[in-house]
Amino acid sequence: MSWKFCVGLLLGLAIGLGCRWLGIPVPAPPMLVGASLVVAMTSGYLLADNFIAAHPAQHRHDCGGPSGDTKETRT
């Protein structure tokens, strides 16, 4: 874990504390469950990103372009 990330986490904590202290609406869900859902959404995004990176499209050349022609018909 880099020191910049640690500083970011501390800043996040300080922003949350300050928002509660000053009565300002916090720019995050005020419930722990809501914040956990944000983390879960990001995790799902990253999982799908890894899946797509591991499984590149193998039939792209069969797909039609803007004109509807496939690579097969163009060559």
């Binding site: 990330f5 970011g8 986490l9 501390l10 800043l11 996040g12 904590l13 300080a14 922003i15 949350g16 504390l17 300050g18 928002c19 509660r20 202290w21 916090v26 720019p27 995050a28 869900p29 005020p30 419930m31 722990l32 469950v33 809501g34 914040a35 956990s36 859902l37 944000v38 983390v39 879960a40 959404m41 990001t42 995790s43 799902g44 995004y45 990253l46 999982l47 799908a48 990103d49 899946f51 797509i52």
Partner: protein
């Protein structure tokens, strides 16, 4: 209790669906950003606990 189990699964599905369909994600696309959101909420709850 059931909702607490359905929520994370739904959130994972939304995240994966957004990536697969190339739709902008309603959350930070980096894990560090999501953890910063979590840290903000924890700070807010900590402040709530300290003030009460």
């Amino acid at each position: 209790m059931m909702q607490l189990m359905v929520g994370p699964v739904l959130a994972l599905a939304i995240g994966a669906g957004c990536r697969l369909l190339d739709i902008p994600l309603p959350a930070p696309p980096k894990l560090q950003g999501a953890l910063l959101v979590l840290a903000m909420t924890v700070g807010y709850l900590l402040g709530d606990h300290l003030l009460s």
